[in-house]
Amino acid sequence: MRNLRYLLYIAILIVLITLPLYTGVYLLNVTDIILIYLALALSWDILLRSGQISFGMAGLFGVGGYAAGLIHLNAGVNPLISIVMGGLAAGLLAWLIGMAVLQLRGMYFAIVTLALAEIFRVIVRNLPDLTGGPEGTVLPSAIFAGNSTKTYWLVLVVALVSVIASEIFRRTRIHFALTSIRNDEVVAKSSGIDVFKYLVFIFVVTSAIQGLTGGAYAHIYGFVSPEGSFSIDFTLLPIAMALLGGMHSTWGPVVGAVVLGVISEFLKLKIPYGHLLVYGLIIVIAILFFPQGIVGTIGQKLKKAHRA
């Protein structure tokens, strides 16, 4: 039974890798965006499993983008390496913030992350010599000279990194640590778990993924700017996706990303302006009426049917 599942995963992987062979450029670009949001949604969910909410994804995403773009531009570093460095930069930043702020968690941490995007946007805007100021900076060229197949593979790798991270955190002892911490920190501590260390670790890893994604995004579009790189989209959508698909799982955010990604493409065609509103509504409705999300609700129904 298990082997069948692995076969299925490998099949999906092959389909994904060979996608460019039978899809047009438009669909590939749409998939690129979905994969980017998927990575963000998963990284948000991983942190959520520890009981902490981050509203600062756009901030770390943008930091990764700027770091990757500027390192490439000013130091001539290879774009792929600069993307990795974007991830590292975001991770380092998260380490500093986490060490300072994760001692008081919950809403204190959440509110601080809420300000992150704004803070970084302000910093970036006020260092025009380094960052190009309010207008942003254009990179010499988009990565791979805009080749849509290679671009797709880059994004696919980034998405796979987040999937692998999510699965590692679900199958190793980290899953137990996160679940304990989320449920009851006192019990976790009494079981020998160093709560603070785990929280900082998870925050750093998920932020690094966000930075990595941001770096990829920056190179794909060849452009970084305060408004574009730190857009609220990069916080709002991933949260909506993870909630819609189902928290605390790998499949949940994946399903949410695909569903919402497809819907948002339609939305953009039909109503050019209202889509952020829809995402906000999805969050509200999901929290109120089905906090388990699609995957969670289906899972529950299956369990009930199984028992009956």
């Binding site: 137990f176 006192v186 976790a188 009494s190 079981s191 605390h248």
Partner: protein
């Protein structure tokens, strides 16, 4: 060298001293009863020793080592474990997995070993159907799971906080036998209880707390006849 020693242990909440200069000792391999009226500070005592609260004053020594500033998770790894008065099972994990948390992090076993040790512990405590969801367990089973969880960290000193609460007399007898079995494995036990029968049967010595202070200490027979203790309980009978 005493097993666990507290010196003038004090803990304030706001202006109130929940623990007031508590100096006492645990002897290795004993079962020590910790009793006192409601609000005497018994659970606070456990919380301070386990590291959930830092003391406002005073020190604690475990096997000679000063643990007063050690964070809770390090104390767990040194071998101090406890159960909780209001049970706190971890949602999202099965019965077995709840126990595994203890063996994974208490001593840092790998997943496979931790699982085996957890299974063995569940057997030892006569818990069956261990992969089940924790939402469908009886009161006795939940308490046993809590104890298994604590035992999974391989403690040298185990605090049982009112484990008998809510059990009928058959279940209480089962639990008493269980505590004896745990004790026979070489674990020193501190047991907080209101049910005096249990204290009488299980403990070698008793410490009585009232308003955060130690008012009596000694074997149960002595302590239960101490007029100060009787006054403190004011009409509560064993």
């Amino acid at each position: 060298m005493p097993f666990l020693k507290t010196e003038n242990l004090t803990r304030h909440f706001g202006g109130i001293a929940a623990l007031n200069h508590v100096s006492m000792e645990f002897r290795e391999h004993e079962i020590l009863g910790i009793i006192g009226p409601n609000g005497a500070g018994k659970t606070t005592f456990i919380n301070v020793i386990a590291g959930i609260y830092l003391p406002t004053e005073g020190k604690m020594y475990f096997n000679g080592q000063n643990i007063s500033d050690l964070p809770a998770h390090k104390r767990c790894r040194l071998g101090i474990a406890r159960t909780f008065q209001l049970v706190r099972p971890l949602q999202g994990l099965s019965l077995l997995e709840n126990v595994m948390v203890g063996s994974l992090f208490g001593k840092g076993f790998g997943q496979r070993e931790a699982r085996e040790k957890a299974i063995a512990l569940c057997e030892f405590l006569e818990l069956s159907d261990i992969s089940r969801d924790i939402t469908r367990m009886t009161a006795l089973e939940i308490k046993k799971m809590e104890i298994a969880h604590a035992l999974a960290t391989q403690p040298k000193l185990l605090f049982l906080d009112e484990v008998m609460a809510g059990l009928n007399s058959d279940e209480t007898m089962e639990m008493i036998a269980l505590v004896r079995r745990i004790h026979s494995r070489g674990i020193t036990i501190g047991i907080v209880e209101h049910v005096m029968r249990v204290i009488k049967e299980l403990t070698h010595r008793v410490v009585v707390l009232d308003w955060g202070e130690v008012i009596a200490e000694g074997p149960y027979e002595e302590v239960s006849n101490d007029p100060m203790v009787i006054t403190a309980y004011l009409g509560e009978e064993a």
